[in-house]
Amino acid sequence: MTTYFLRRMLLMIPTFIGSTLIVFTILQLAPGGPLEQTIQRIQMGAAAQGETAGSTSDVMSGGGSVLPESALKELKRFYGFDKPIWQRYLIWLGVYPREVKHRDFTLVPGETEVIARAGKKDGQVWRVTVVRNGDEYSVIDEGTFSEVWRAKAETVDADGTVHGVIFQTETSGIMTGNLGESYTYQAPVTEVMKPRFKISLFFGLTGMFLSYIVCIPLGIRKALLHGSPFDFISSVIIFVAYSIPGWAMGGVFLVLFGGGSFWNIFPLGGFHSPTEIWEALSLWGKILDQLHHAILPIFAWSIGSFAGLTVLMKNGLLENLSQDYIRTAFAKGLSEKRVVWVHAIRNSVIPIASGIGGVIGVVIAGSYFIEKVFNIDGFGKLGYQAILDRDYPITLAFLVIVVVIRLVGNIISDIALATVDPRIRFR
């Protein structure tokens, strides 16, 4: 059993690499990425400026491109587009060194060394010497080979002038816990995600808890009263719940209770009241305000799993009730209560227990739809917004988190299954 789970854990690695590689490649190959968008933004800004300033000719002279070569190079370096895709992927993973702090230098023909500025150190300009040795370049700092700086040639002119760059390297990426920096929020991805993550978790956990607490007893009751009016009526409700996605139902609730055209009972969305009001509330007021805002989204959230869970419970119990061991239990003269609650129920929760891993994924990743309908700044909405903004670090970080949660969730499902059902042996 342990070997089985160990093997599963190890298999997570190639799966993780495979799935992230697919999305990474799609994103990198996509036209209109962050590089193009930035260039466009700068060009539009320059064009607008050119119009007001009477259009100086040298801005527009570059055949439509207003960006000087060096700025373009700078941008490419910033977004990492100066490397082939496989290198970018490895850098992003954090197993291949990333080049940072680029400084240009120029080496005139015939010379073999040049002094380059490497920024500041201890309040003074830090100069290092770049030495050319054939096609190799090395950096000498204060008489010894520098440990932090490296150098390489980028372009060589026709007359032999070398345009090169010195840089430092660092190895940091997903593997080292560095999820990168968001383009749109200008902050580390982890910091952007943290508060939103909590919000989604709040809805996910309460929603899951609620749906379990309603569905399991309801499923049991429906199975015990199979064919009764109660069973029929609750089945109708379940059909209705199954035929409208939870988020669409949420929209209907908003129209009904949000004060637009019918009743004004619940707020129109948001996680809680706007900050000005929120800050002034007492603790009790905050709790009430939070609940007031949370009721509709949580209801919409749990209705999504309502039908499936109830039917799963009901059918599981019904199936078990028609098994031979139940007949035996009755034949022994056990009371119905004992047969149902001790013998049958335990076997019927097995499929529900094994679904727990899948639920974890939904709980944590949130729901784009519900968060969009109720205008909640949750985790799902963040990922969705990141795609719209072409914010690749957040998009990829979102993906990484969801994929890891799913992979771990699958294993948790199996463990849960093996725990509740001793007959199951994984090999």
């Binding site: 996605p245 908003l254 129209v255 028609s322 994929v403």
Partner: protein, 358 residues
């Protein structure tokens, strides 16, 4: 427990019927599912003739001795009928004018004389009109008739789901079947692949792809198939895997039947039951998915009538309740019909007899 029960056969002819015929007869006895099936089929068939019922173009125009058929022939500029409007002729106004002036020209409008695309730029249309006798479900933020859009979206949604389901089934049955039947390396490689694929959040990937290439109807189907074929493939693989180890397959093989024949003649018919019972629920999933994608703005391109887009606009104009209730209602009714069908099909194909032993 069914072996303990002797099933009564009312009609002796039933014995010789094929299994599918028997299942069909059984399905017919499930009134709710059967009538839902008939209603849905009729509605879907009618929805192909929607331009005849719900259209802003006249069915027939008699003008200066000539007959025109705008509903079929398409665009006629207003000048054609000596009408002073920009662009296309406004047949509703035309009809009024001719009637008032007692002219000899006349035209026949469809029963519901509003189209899904004509907006505020057409004279006489207004934004945010509440439901009335004219506009049964009101108009939206650009003055388009909600009811007309709803009906056209019905056709698109069902077509989308059907094509998607059929594509998925073809891929799933062929790849999944081959995986289960041949096993070995082929199976192993695809299994890894499927594992990778299924660890990806599908909706997220679809949104990423859809944000890069603005999809039309068929590209959207292609993208969706690309990320969604896994489920069916896995189901079929398990089915084939199980069936392959059964005696009848060994018997067929030992008699020298070819692989192809074993797959298509022997195993496939035996492994279709779960696939068929799943079909209606797959349709439910695909219709909801289309609504969801359209709602997020990554579905069909904008002027296309779609429930998701209508819902999106509706939720931006929360006080105009008809703009929210109409698409949700339409989706609800459609999905409910499909769910009823699915319930009937399941009962007919895969009946579960629960006997309380007490």
């Amino acid at each position: 427990m069914s072996i303990f029960r002797k099933k009564k056969i009312q009609d002796p002819r039933e014995i010789s019927l094929s299994i599918y015929k028997k299942r069909w007869l059984k399905f017919k006895t499930m009134k709710r599912g059967y009538y839902s099936f008939i209603i849905l089929i009729i509605l879907y068939a009618l929805s192909f003739a929607l331009p005849l019922f719900i259209n802003n173009r006249a069915l027939l125009v008699k003008y200066e001795g000539h007959y025109y058929f705008p509903a079929f022939a398409g665009y006629y500029p207003g000048e054609k009928f000596n009408q002073d409007v920009p662009g296309e002729a406004n047949y509703r106004l035309l009809s009024e004018q001719w009637e008032n002036s007692g002219s000899e020209n006349w035209l026949v409008m469809p029963p519901y004389p509003f189209g899904p695309f004509e907006d505020i730029t057409v004279k006489g249309n207004a934004m945010y009109e509440p439901p009335s006798r004219q506009h049964w479900l009101g108009t939206d933020d650009t003055g388009r008739d909600v009811f007309a859009r709803l009906c056209y979206a019905f056709n698109i949604s069902i077509s989308f789901a059907l094509i998607l389901a059929i594509l998925n089934y073809i891929i799933g049955i062929s790849i999944g079947g081959a995986m289960g039947y041949f096993g070995g390396k082929f199976d192993l490689i695809f299994q890894r692949f499927i594992e990778i694929w299924s660890s990806l959040p599908m909706l997220f990937v679809i949104i990423i792809i859809a944000s890069i290439i603005r999809p039309n109807f068929f590209i959207l189907i292609l993208i969706y198939t690309l990320v969604n074929w896994i489920g069916m493939t896995y189901l079929m693989r398990a089915e084939f895997y199980r069936e392959k180890s059964k005696d009848y397959v060994a018997a067929a093989l030992s008699m020298g039947q070819s692989n192809l024949k074993v797959i298509f003649k022997h195993i496939l018919p035996n492994s279709l039951v779960p696939v068929i019972t799943y079909f209606p629920f797959a349709i439910v999933g695909y219709i909801s998915a289309l609504v969801g994608l359209d709602y997020l703005g990554f579905g069909l391109p904008p002027p296309t009538p779609s429930w998701g887009q209508m819902l999106d606009i509706g939720l931006q104009n929360m006080s105009k309740w008809w703009m929210v209730f109409s698409p949700v209602g339409a989706q609800f009714i459609t999905l409910l019909l499909v769910v009823f069908i699915g319930e009937g099909v399941r009962e007919a194909f895969d009946p579960k007899v629960y006997s309380r032993l007490r």
